[in-house]
Amino acid sequence: MTGHVRTGTTAPRAPWLTLRRREMFEGWLFVSPTLIGFLIFFLGPLIAIVIYSLSEWNLLSQQMTYIGTANYQDALTQNPDFWHVIRNSVIFAAGLVPLNMTLALALALALCRPGRGVVFFRTAFFAPVVTSAVAWAIVWKFLLQGEAGAVNQMLATVGINGPNWLREPDWAMVAVIATRVLKMVGLNMILYIAALQSIPRDYEDAARLEGAGNWQIFRMVTWPLLAPSTLIIMVITTIGSFKVFDHIYLMTGGGPENGTLVLAFYIYEQAFEFFNVGYASALAMIMFAIVLVLALVQIMLRQKGSA
């Protein structure tokens, strides 16, 4: 090698900090704040939950006893509340996700092209998204009162005798789903509008020239092209629906008759109202598992569908 070097300059030995090492070092440096925070505030707690969930632990007296998998057994086989809560969570998600996504897509289709009034409607539908959940719940709780509530008074003017929304378990579930959809649908609408706008117009024009009607264009062209966005939106919405806490806490407190007692609220109640940290942690692990499985199933279904 040195035979080539006749200029008298020396060939430096490869430094320890090669460009490749440097890039690696810098890469880790860039992610390190996020990573360290993630480890401390996320992974650590997650591991802690596993340990907590194997013990009986009263938040107030702070006594911890190892009890093995008793908490899980209790939830899965002993406690009828648990399955009731799971059922509620599933109903909530099953009601909210399709309703939210259908409405979001419909609104997005109606509002994806610029035009007069479009800005107004987009703003209107997105406004609840920027409003705090507390405010939204406070107002709706009031509007949904039995007889004096504005909703029932409006229904009365068209001759419908509205139910006592938040006092009857089934109607309460309907009410929390509906008000949650109203609160969050704007976000999905915007995501769909973004997705729609990124679809080149050529496809639609081509389909139209071939004689396709609006519905056919949607079925054959738009919908398949939206598939990746739909998947992401669906995963986010589903996870969000399992995480719903503040809305329930403020609207119904899980009632009436535990009709809206969903998993996230149940965990909170067990941990911070009954001080059952161990049991709450076991529930949290179960929730983690459910959400993980749901997300994976949705992703896998989609991949299978597109394959």
Binding site: N58, L59, L60, S61, Q62, Q145, G146, E147, A148, G149, N164, W165, L166, R167, E168, P169, G253, G255, P256, E257, N258, G259, L261, E269, F272, E273, F274, F275
Partner: protein, 414 residues
């Protein structure tokens, strides 16, 4: 140096050194943010500083809805208050968890405290064997508050008048409530305590009726809600809500204090809410029932938390706050369980909003009343009971079946 001067200098130096330490602050969590109430507490705190010049007591109001929870967060979160106000329903749980101190030694050591002045039944909940876990500074009976204007509008005799004639019973109560609702369109005859009778104050709503019908909530691990007396009592309330439509039903707001209900049940501490009321009002005893009169008492006590680092000082403050003089001072809103105070003239004159003849009902009720049911696992019992109670408060509910369901749900916890 002369020994005495040395001692004096040392003392001065020590005072100097310990001065910053001596300027201590006691944190006291309260359930009320009412200015009138706070004024009294602050006055007491000021009195305390006469003997403890470096001590300040800061009262921290926590909204009632989250009180127990927030308090728990503070205790579990390592940010404990030194003292706190505590309700009858949760004190057994706190005692069981071992987070409150025994106050007996401090109370006995306090000069002029007269521990024996406290009525025995009132202390029952707060003591266990020899230990005293809290001092019930408020032993406040449930009273009927009525809106005189609305009674007048309906041309009805007021509850005190009826009580005077011995006619103030559950049947009359139902009759009056219905007449009031009819006479005052869009308003209600009766509202459960603080309008929360279907939510956080289920027991407050149903216990008065159950007791006067001769029933009970639970007793020695046995659930009393499905006993005939309780069923009968609740059937009456249920009918009043759904048949007579005289009680504010679930999901509606009919606030007594803003003039939307003619009657409600509450404690005298709420009188402060009526200082500016634009209607005439008064208080009366609870209606009697088949089992006679059975006043209900809600209690609140002061506890010292074990986690407090200023045990001694905190306990001294409890002893000071609940001594005979201060008890009298607080009696305006918080009737004490001290015989001496209840029988004094100052007590019946204590609350300027309430005429003394009405205050007399209060004193009587305290002497005769029973505390609301409580339990170490109250939170769990409540949570188990709540959904079944929700089911009860539906128009088409069968009271008997619903109450049996309540009992089934809570039996394990009892």
């Amino acid at each position: 140096m002369h020994p005495r001067r040395l001692a004096a200098t040392t003392l001065a130096a020590m005072t100097f050194i310990t001065a910053p330490l001596a300027a201590e602050e006691l944190r006291f969590t309260l359930w009320t943010g009412n200015d009138a109430h706070l004024a009294i507490f602050n006055e007491i705190a000021k009195g305390f500083t006469e003997t403890h010049p470096d001590v300040t007591v800061s009262f921290e109001s926590i909204p009632a809805a989250d009180y127990t929870q927030k308090l728990t967060f503070q205790l579990a979160g390592g940010n404990p208050p030194d003292l706190g106000w505590m309700f009858e329903d949760v004190i057994p749980g706190f005692v069981e968890a071992g987070v409150v101190e025994d106050l007996r030694p401090a109370l006995e050591a306090a000069e002029g405290y007269e521990l024996e002045d406290f009525s025995e039944p009132a202390m029952a909940l707060w003591s266990e064997k020899d230990a005293i876990h809290g001092v019930p500074f408020s032993t406040s009976p449930f009273m009927i508050y009525y809106n005189k204007d609305m009674f007048d509008a309906a041309g009805l005799e007021t509850p005190p008048e009826l009580a005077g004639k011995g006619e103030w019973d559950m049947e009359k109560f139902r009759e009056v409530a219905m007449a009031l609702a009819e006479a005052n369109s869009g308003k209600w005859g009766f509202e459960f305590k603080d309008g929360q009778g279907y939510d956080s104050r289920i027991l407050h709503a149903i216990m008065p009726a159950i007791r006067v019908y001769g029933g009970y909530a639970w007793r020695d691990g046995d659930c009393g809600f499905d006993e005939p007396e309780a069923v009968e009592a609740i059937t009456q309330l249920h009918d009043m809500v759904f048949k007579d439509k005289s009680i504010v039903p679930p999901g509606e707001q009919g606030d007594f204090f803003s003039g939307n209900s003619a009657m409600t049940v509450n404690q005298i501490s709420r009188a402060s809410l009526l200082a500016d009321a634009d209607f005439e009002w008064g208080i009366a005893p609870l209606p009697t029932g088949p089992a006679g009169a059975s006043p209900i008492i809600g209690q609140a006590g002061i506890v010292v938390f074990s986690q407090s680092k200023k045990q001694e000082l905190a306990q001294e403050f409890v002893a000071y706050m609940t001594n005979p003089e201060n008890s009298e001072l607080m009696a305006e809103f918080f009737p004490p369980a001290r015989h001496s105070v209840l029988q004094s003239d100052t007590f019946v004159a204590a609350n300027e909003l309430i005429p003394s003849e009405q205050m007399a009902y209060v004193g009587k009720a305290i002497e005769e009343g029973h505390v609301l049911p409580s339990h170490p696992r109250y939170a769990q019992i409540y949570a188990a009971m709540k959904p079944r109670m929700d089911a009860l408060w539906r128009a088409d509910a069968d009271v008997q079946t619903s109450l049996e369901a309540v009992c089934t749900a809570i039996e394990d916890q009892l």
